[in-house]
């Protein structure tokens, strides 16, 4: 656990309740939003939500002190999650999406480490912002927390974040790194950091943590849990020890299921593909929700690029049409009617038993085009004698994967 020889026993044993000593990994669920953002969806009835969360089996849950005291009974018993207490407050996250958006960044202490010790917490969490005018005061506040944590042998988890006017698109990754370095300097025993978007830049951030365990935060709720799971997989691959996910768990319609899935990635060491293959059972039918289609054509691009490595909608094995009156966008996808298989006079088309997709034997195909005409949705194409047809991408269709609007779906997928 970490590389710190100087870690006191108290910190060591408490950290071991957050980061599982058997695999060195951790799944923490954040439920402290009420303090920063108000009664957002998912945390209105906190006890009810947390009961669902706990059913999924997280390693720890982050709450504010007031809730910690009221809900400590949820944290009792063998196997119960460890409790983390947020000791500071800020308005910085109240952007335009929330009530009373911030006009200037403010921050404050709202709990002492002593109180966290009393309530039985295994760690305390505080923000550290870099990139605004009041930075030095913020650092001073965190320094005080750090010293208190040392006194009480309470693990200090710092959440270093680029925040404010000095943060630009150009320097964002650098700022994350700098903030991490500062947090380590101030005595963080673990870090809660934002993902920089790709594993290469994130590796630099992990390196900057000098062995202090890195947990990745979840931020806004993703449109699909698949994205959260993929991010988790990616960050674990480059050295993070786990995640602190809040909205992506508490705002999920089934928080217990969300936690279980995340556990499979973190502790179960499964991949997203493993889980998808288990859930998506053949025959893989692509379901179309015309109401949701926005006509963006990303599906056509993804299809053309996945199969041909170029961008050209004419090479896609599905198509999107605009209705006559311009009021609707309609995707036409292979719906496994097998008309083409039946129509082929040369027996060149057959059905793949695993995915249910149609396959062509190039040696038998004469390029006559009868199948193209037989297709009721007109997604078969004959280009330079080569037949292009939907192969369902071996059971995990690319078009479905790239559709941000859930206009294209498969049963069991997200």
């Amino acid at each position: 656990m970490g590389g710190s020889i100087e870690l006191s026993f108290g910190k060591l044993v408490r950290l071991s309740k957050i980061i599982d000593p058997s695999d060195g990994r951790s799944l923490v669920v954040a439920a402290d939003h009420g303090l920063m953002l108000g009664p957002i969806k998912g945390v209105v009835d906190l006890e009810a939500t947390l009961r669902k969360v706990i059913a999924g089996g997280p390693d720890a849950i982050l709450v504010s002190l007031g809730q910690a005291r009221k809900l400590s009974h949820l944290f009792t018993g063998k196997g119960a999650p460890a409790m983390l207490v947020r000791v500071d407050w800020t308005n910085a996250f109240r952007d335009k999406t929330y009530t009373l958006p911030a006009r200037s960044i403010q921050f404050n202490k709202v709990a002492t480490v002593k109180e966290a010790v009393k309530v039985g917490a295994s760690g305390v969490v505080t923000y550290l912002f870099l990139g605004f005018e009041g930075e030095n005061d913020h650092i001073a506040m965190v320094e005080e927390f750090s010293s208190e944590c040392k006194t009480w042998s309470m693990p200090l988890i710092i959440e270093p974040l680029p925040m404010g006017p000095r943060v630009t698109k150009a320097n964002y990754v650098d700022m994350v790194r700098k903030a991490v370095e500062k947090a380590v300097e101030l005595g963080a025993d673990a870090l809660k950091v934002p993902y920089t978007g790709d594993p290469y830049s994130f590796k630099e951030v992990v390196e900057a943590s000098s062995g202090v365990p890195v947990l990745v935060l979840g931020g806004y709720k993703a449109l699909s849990i698949r994205d959260s799971l993929e991010v988790i997989s990616e960050v674990l691959d480059v050295g993070a020890v786990g995640v602190v996910f809040g909205r992506n768990v508490v705002q999920d319609p089934n928080p217990d299921e969300a936690v279980r899935l995340m556990r499979r990635i973190i502790h179960g060491k499964e991949t997203v593909t493993d889980i998808l293959r288990e859930r998506i059972k053949p025959p893989v039918r692509i379901l179309v929700d015309v109401e949701r289609c926005s006509g963006c054509r990303i599906c056509e691009l993804a299809c053309s690029f996945s199969h041909e490595k170029v961008f050209n909608s004419s090479l896609a094995r599905l198509r999107v049409k605009v209705s006559e009156d311009g009021k609707a966008f309609i995707p036409y996808v292979c719906n496994l009617c097998y008309s083409c298989v039946n129509a082929c006079p040369n027996g060149a088309l057959r059905v793949n038993s695993r995915t249910g997709a149609v396959e062509v034997s190039p040696e038998l195909c004469q390029g006559c085009g009868v199948c193209v005409d037989s297709c009721p949705v007109k997604v078969l194409k004959l280009i330079n004698g080569r037949l292009l047809l939907c192969d369902l991408c071996d059971g995990l269709p690319e078009c479905v994967k790239w559709c941000s609007r859930n206009a294209l779906r498969v049963e069991g997928g997200w």
Binding site: N91, A92, R94, D95, K96, T97, P101, A102, R103, S104, I105, F129, G131, F132, E133, P162, M163, G164, P165, V167, T168, K169, A170, N171, Y172, V173, D174, T196, G197, D198, G219, Y220, A222, L223, S224, D227, S228, E230, V231, S294, G295, C296, R297, I298, L301, A302, S304, F305, E308, K309, V310, F311, N312, D325, G326, K327, A328, W402, S404, R405
Partner: protein
């Protein structure tokens, strides 16, 4: 040795068409140019600067009309629909670039061209057809006088559904200085690019292409694009706010911050904002989300009226035809939106003109007799619609109104309340309640524009850390950063909104894997942005722009904000401007210093007369 760019995201070729002679040349886009200015705004600005001389008449055959895509246009990069229309503006007499979405830019690249530069003037009303590499000019008299949507439909009916069409409306044909260029219900609205097209006797440009767009490292690029798409799906603005309420999602927050310009910028608070919130529009009038090519966000909203399908209104259009004029009647705003789109004029400029007229009417400088009987009262839907129609059609007083507030203000002696900078009408953020936006308006390269330096992001919307909007300190740096970054994004081919969720690291990864060029360092990209912004400044400086032109209307400098969180505030422009010039490496007159020009290697790509 300049290696080819084809197969690296780019098409690799630029088409140069002269309408006077009918000659078509194909030039090669070099890697050197790509590394310096990338594409889009950068490429267009470079072509504009190098192919014009100081003082060229915007409506003359010598003024080129340039359409430029970026290396990511047409790929799986998120919202990869964008291209820039670059020319000299007949409205301001200065640099103009208008960024546009839809599907046209993508098709242009598929046709084999990264950019098209059109000079000269056709002998009769014409249409350019670019058919998969072939460029030719056709007679377009059968399109004369048609509204934009009608013209587009007729062209598609004749040439084929696969064609994408740029067109001007009657206003463009009539050389109205606020005329825009329209395609697929999207537009390059600001600055009068439509008039430039009209001055060339060019009604439409139709394009169709079959060439696949290819990239340097397909696997790496696909991964980079996937991660970028994923970021967009995980960010509140791009995953929820914009898809649900479009750009209108910000209107209540802007109003609450006292920054929603109302009644010709008399105040920043509009009492009836709740009637025109995104929630209200979605509940009553918006029926469908519509996306541009390759965009996972789908910020466009379609309104189905009895007669039309209107794409919109978006925030700026809604504001200019709504609160700016005191109007909260949604149906009136939709119809006014449609009129502007149909006749082909910029909605922002139109709205500002109407509100200017309304203020003159309030001050009794204009009476209804002067306005062909229109009682131009604040908040009157009838007045709004009648005036908008006049501006669109050029009927009666409309002929004069459509020339813009600057000219009108000279005639009526009300320059103090003519809300424009350098002649371009001012968009929907109150500078006294958002000082960074004020500085941005004053220093934008095309006149008052909210997009060049969207400091509202932090000042009013508090994304990524709130910045006190009413304080002037630190705003110069904020504006410089935003301007440089926006200039870069406008040169890539992806949409500004996609960039909300992305850092330069992700954008660089996509650029580097697409082109195989060393574009993955955030600092390289920032420098390109800074270079492009200085390039457009040099164009303006060549035209005579100096510090005195980086100004704001007196109203914002001297009239204290009467209400709201910014009550009592005025814009401390001089102070901010001083700091801005220093940060930019420009002298006190606003001219880029030679060391700045050399540092950015601008002397290698343009020739500097002075």
């Amino acid at each position: 040795m300049n290696l080819s760019l084809s197969g690296r995201g780019y098409a690799g070729a630029i088409a140069k068409l002269d309408l006077s002679s009918g000659r078509v040349e194909k030039a090669v886009l070099s890697q050197k140019d790509a590394l310096m200015v990338l594409g889009g705004k950068g490429l267009g600005s470079l072509l504009l600067y190098n192919s014009t001389r100081r003082g060229v008449d915007p409506l003359s055959p010598e003024n080129p009309l340039i359409l430029a895509t970026g290396p990511l246009t047409g790929t799986l990069a998120p919202s990869s629909c964008r291209f820039s229309i670059v020319t000299k503006s007949p409205h301001t007499g200065l640099f103009l670039d208008s960024n546009c979405g839809g599907f046209f830019g993508v098709e242009l690249k598929k046709a084999g061209f990264d950019a098209v530069m059109i000079t000269g003037k056709a002998s009769q009303l014409s249409m350019i057809v670019i058919d998969d590499g072939d460029v030719y000019v056709e007679d377009a008299n059968w399109l004369m006088g048609l509204k934009t949507m009608e013209a587009e439909k007729k062209v598609k009916d004749r040439l084929g559904e696969e064609f994408r069409v740029l067109t001007i409306g009657p206003a463009g044909e009539e050389l109205v200085p606020i005329a825009g260029i329209f395609t697929d219900q999207r537009c390059a609205g600001r600055g009068g690019a439509g008039a430039v097209m009209g001055s060339k006797n060019l009604k439409s440009i139709a394009v169709r292409g079959e060439k696949p767009i290819t990239v340097y490292d397909p696997d790496g690029f696909k991964k980079a694009c996937w991660r970028a798409h994923r970021r967009i799906r995980m960010h509140e603005v791009t995953a929820r706010s914009l898809p649900t309420y479009g750009t209108v999602n910000i209107i209540e927050t802007i109003n609450e911050a006292g920054a929603l310009p109302t009644k010709n910028f008399k105040t920043g608070v509009f009492q009836d904002t709740w009637k025109i919130s995104g929630y209200e529009w979605r509940r009553e009038l918006w029926k469908k989300d519509r996306a541009c090519f390759g965009c996972p966000i789908a910020c466009s909203k379609l309104t189905f009226t009895l007669a039309h399908v209107v794409d919109g209104p978006d925030y700026e259009t809604l504001w200019a035809l709504g609160p700016l004029c005191g109007v909260s009647d949604k149906e009136a705003i939709v119809y006014a939106n449609w009129l502007c789109d149909a006749y082909g004029v910029d909605t922002i400029s139109t709205g500002v003109i109407v509100s200017f007229v309304m203020e003159l009417y309030e001050r009794k400088i204009l009476k209804s007799e002067d306005l062909d009987g229109v009682n131009a009262k604040w908040g009157s839907s009838e007045a709004l619609l009648r005036l908008v129609e006049k501006i669109c059609k050029g009927d009666g007083v409309g002929k004069e109104l459509r020339l813009g507030v600057k000219k009108l203000s000279v005639k009526y002696g009300c320059e103090d309340i003519a809300m424009h900078v350098k002649g371009l009408e001012m968009p929907g953020y109150e500078p006294r309640a958002s000082k960074g936006m004020g500085l941005g308006y004053a220093t934008s390269d095309r006149g008052a524009c909210h997009l060049r330096a969207y400091t509202a992001d932090k000042e009013l919307l508090a994304y990524g850390g709130a910045v006190d909007p009413v304080k002037a300190d630190g705003k110069a740096k904020l504006v410089v950063d935003y301007q440089n970054e926006k200039a870069l994004i406008d040169s890539t081919g992806i949409c500004f909104f996609a960039s909300f969720a992305l850092s330069f690291r992700e954008i660089g990864e996509m650029l580097a894997t697409a082109t195989g060029l060393p574009l993955n360092e955030a600092d390289t990209l920032r420098t390109i942005g800074e270079r492009v912004y200085n390039l457009t400044r040099l164009f303006n400086v060549r035209e005579g722009v100096r510090r005195r032109d980086d100004c704001l209307p007196r109203r914002l400098l001297e009239e204290a904000m009467p209400e709201g969180p910014a009550k009592g505030s005025i814009v401390e422009l001089d102070k901010m401007l001083n700091e801005y010039y220093i940060l930019r490496g420009w002298d006190e007159n606003g001219i880029p210093k030679s060391e700045t020009i050399k540092r950015l290697n601008l002397d290698l790509i343009i020739s500097l007369e002075d």
